[in-house]
Symmetry: C2
Subunit: 211 residues, 2 copies
Amino acid sequence: MQHKPITILIVDDHPMVVEGLKTLLSDNPAVAVRTHFTNGNDTLEFLEKEIVDVILLDVNLPDISGVEMVKLILDKRATIKILGLSTYSEPSIINQMIKNGVKGYLLKNATSDELVSAISKVHNGEFYFGSEIQKILADSVAQESKDVPKLTRRETHVLRLIADGKTTNTIAEELFISPLTVETHRRNLMQKLEVSNAASLIKFAIEKKFI
Amino acid sequence: MQHKPITILIVDDHPMVVEGLKTLLSDNPAVAVRTHFTNGNDTLEFLEKEIVDVILLDVNLPDISGVEMVKLILDKRATIKILGLSTYSEPSIINQMIKNGVKGYLLKNATSDELVSAISKVHNGEFYFGSEIQKILADSVAQESKDVPKLTRRETHVLRLIADGKTTNTIAEELFISPLTVETHRRNLMQKLEVSNAASLIKFAIEKKFI
DNA sequence: TTCAATATACCTGAAAACCATTAGAAAAAA
DNA sequence: TTTTTTCTAATGGTTTTCAGGTATATTGAA
């Protein structure tokens, strides 16, 4: 049975990758690369007038973040299936992309087969996440549920300032609150995070990207 | 004037990039991609018997680190010109690669022109570093010369332990020295690093990869 | 071998951080 | 609207850090 080919839009600022994708997909009659863009704005402009079936979207574009792009594209064209594409796998970004509506996610070390399979899956309304991505997702879910004890906004703010090396008094001045309050926050932070000194607190802050 | 084409070996575990490079280079009669490998060991095995002019070497291979690869390749075939290739630019890695003997460095968002130009330059015995890389190198040199005030081995060790969240007494026990000595080290560290509290000390330690 | 750098150790006082607990006001959630 | 959470603040005490200086053994390089 002969279908119309799936039309593809490539959005990636790496010429090597763009050419690679085109080459990898050129053998396959089931897909047709319509065109490509190297930044977010051109892509959005194109989508004002035209439409494709699947977008291969690099996460790191020079102008607009991948996470933002997903939202903007789907606001405009809700039916387009977006397949995220990145070199390394950052759980938080992947999570956000999924929250915003990507239908699949590929690492750039994916094989030609994976690529085609991912495209046809998302085009059929299914999801596609490679085994590596699935592992990351599982890990991040597991971590989220146990690790991070949900800091309040104020606590997060105070933690950031503590980790900046600021003293209790400085923080108090900066936030227009009493040093005693700052100390209370610090103590609550240490309790929540189950640490017993400032060092571990700062380590936590840096590791969890609070800084 | 018609030269023999420059023979190229591509080493990268991303099929998309490999295909992209091949496509980008296929137009140009001055270069000829001999073959490609997706890991370090296969590459080294190949180089036992064969030789090429220029190797396009991805920094992040699955088996051997890029830095190590440069050394291993040049140990075997000192005349080969190696052009480093990576998506993101990590100063320390780039520096190490250069120390080990790469003749140039490209980011994967390089254009086709840059790519060809880089290849021909390194083949002619020149160096090639894109403007972004040059900026990184300049920055890292500038930083190195002023920032890091050369900690002694002991100080580094103590710093690591402090940043691990260990108390003075614990550190003292662990190193079989007096807690007072640990405090002295801490004090000297703070003086050297020009910070006035433990928090900043830990931040320094983490940022400078002491941990 | 001498000298400089390093690692070790100690003292002291002031400042800051840490611990435990309580509690009212404000904001968010139910 | 009521309930819960969060933010604020205080008391009072203990521990740790910070900053000043001093001093000795060890090590490595000139």
